[in-house]
């Protein structure tokens, strides 16, 4: 369960050229994809999921660590290193789980960058009310599909 934070490669950078220590909660398709992406960029990634099987989704390129456990459990988040995390992303398919983890990260541990995945657009008002930075892949996906149909000329 220990996190490993290799220094990553030289290409490492966020927009300010910093290597980030990122905790990802939820290793579904979105979580696993994002984890691999960040890891390949050289960021240190710890991914948490309560289903150990879910880690099979991680690509071979993923060089971060995995923690099998419930992300809403503060002890698990601590063992993931939340006290020194630069960013926490919650990407489970449970909106309330995402909201709870994001709040623990943002309000209790004061993590600088916290992003919560919102699955059900109806819930986005709840995320907003609680002051969370949210991405709703459902809405984003719908918009992209919409644009693909409406904005693209037949050529």
């Amino acid at each position: 369960m220990t996190a490993i934070l290799g220094d990553g490669e030289s290409s490492v950078s966020d927009i300010n050229g910093e290597s980030l220590y990122v905790i990802l909660v939820g290793c579904g398709r979105v979580g696993a994809e994002l984890a691999t992406m960040l890891s390949e960029e050289g960021h240190a990634v710890v991914i948490v999921d309560r289903d150990a099987e879910s880690f099979n989704r991680l690509a071979d390129e993923f060089s971060g660590s995995t923690i099998h456990g419930n992300g809403v459990d503060e002890d698990i988040l601590r063992s993931a290193g939340i006290e020194r995390a630069d960013a926490v992303v919650t990407a489970t398919n449970g909106d309330n789980t995402n909201i709870m983890v994001a709040q623990i990260a943002q309000k209790i541990y004061r993590v600088r960058r916290v992003v919560a995945r919102c699955n059900d657009p109806v819930r986005s008002s709840a995320y907003e009310l609680l002051g969370l930075n949210t991405i709703c892949p459902t809405t984003v996906g719908a918009e992209l599909l919409h644009d693909a149909i409406v904005l693209t000329g037949e050529g």
């Binding site: 909106d95 709840a126 009310l129």
Partner: protein, 229 residues
């Protein structure tokens, strides 16, 4: 009081009936439509078959005028969000109480603004501790927040120096121990000064936390040497 209860499981169902019995106005929210229908058949129109984790349904349940919102679903995450939304939507007017299934979450909930939490696990654990301490020890009934006072129980064993003394003779008040009542078998006795204490009696008292150990020793130990204080 007007109470919005979220979660129609066993806890929510029985709680609704009890609260109605003692005269409160209750709305019960259950997100599972099939289960909600069963509840509705018995409890009537006070059941709302929608998810209390969504603001719009909390509003429909009347959360803005609620005195109390109880979140008693089996999911801690849900209970947290229900209480937080209720509090935000009622602009802090509604008092919120959350059931926590994992006792570790109580602390997280408090730091995220939920007024009160109840954990069945903790309650049952404290009862087990009560059994463990049966042999003449002290049981913490309740810590009165911020007052530094505790309501505690002392059980008098056979060997206790207090046995056969009159309550008044022990001068417990001088030791910072305010006896509230005495439980003897199935009887609850008013703590009269001339009440003679018996082995097995349970003294329920209000004490300062820092005095508790000393009082327990005084009450439960046999009288062998002169008490130093």
């Amino acid at each position: 009081m007007f109470i919005v209860l979220v979660g129609g499981g066993k806890v929510g169902y029985h709680m609704t009936k009890e609260l109605l019995d003692i005269g409160h106005e209750v709305v019960l929210m259950e997100k599972d439509a099939v289960h909600a229908r069963t509840l509705k058949a018995e409890l009537g129109s006070l059941v709302i078959g929608h998810d209390g984790c969504e603001g719009r349904w909390l509003l429909e349940a009347g959360v803005k005028r609620a005195d109390l919102v109880l979140a008693v679903t089996g999911e801690d995450e849900d209970n947290l969000i229900i209480c937080q939304l209720a509090s935000a939507l009622s602009k802090g007017k509604a008092r919120t109480i959350a059931r926590v299934n994992n006792p570790k979450n109580a602390n997280v909930f408090r730091r995220l603004g939920v007024d009160e939490t109840v954990s069945a696990t903790d309650l049952i654990l404290s009862m087990i501790e009560q059994d463990v301490e049966e042999t003449g020890a002290v049981v913490h009934l309740m810590k009165l927040e911020e007052s530094n006072l505790e309501l505690v129980e002392f059980r008098l064993g056979k060997e206790s120096r207090a046995v056969s003394s009159r309550l008044g003779e022990l001068e417990l008040a001088k030791r910072g121990c305010n006896v509230c009542l005495l439980i003897r078998g199935r009887d609850t006795l008013f703590p009269e000064r001339d009440l003679e204490l018996q082995s097995g009696d349970m003294i329920v008292a209000l004490v300062h936390m820092e005095d508790e150990v000393e009082i327990r020793n005084f009450l439960t130990e046999p009288e062998v040497r002169v008490e130093m204080s």
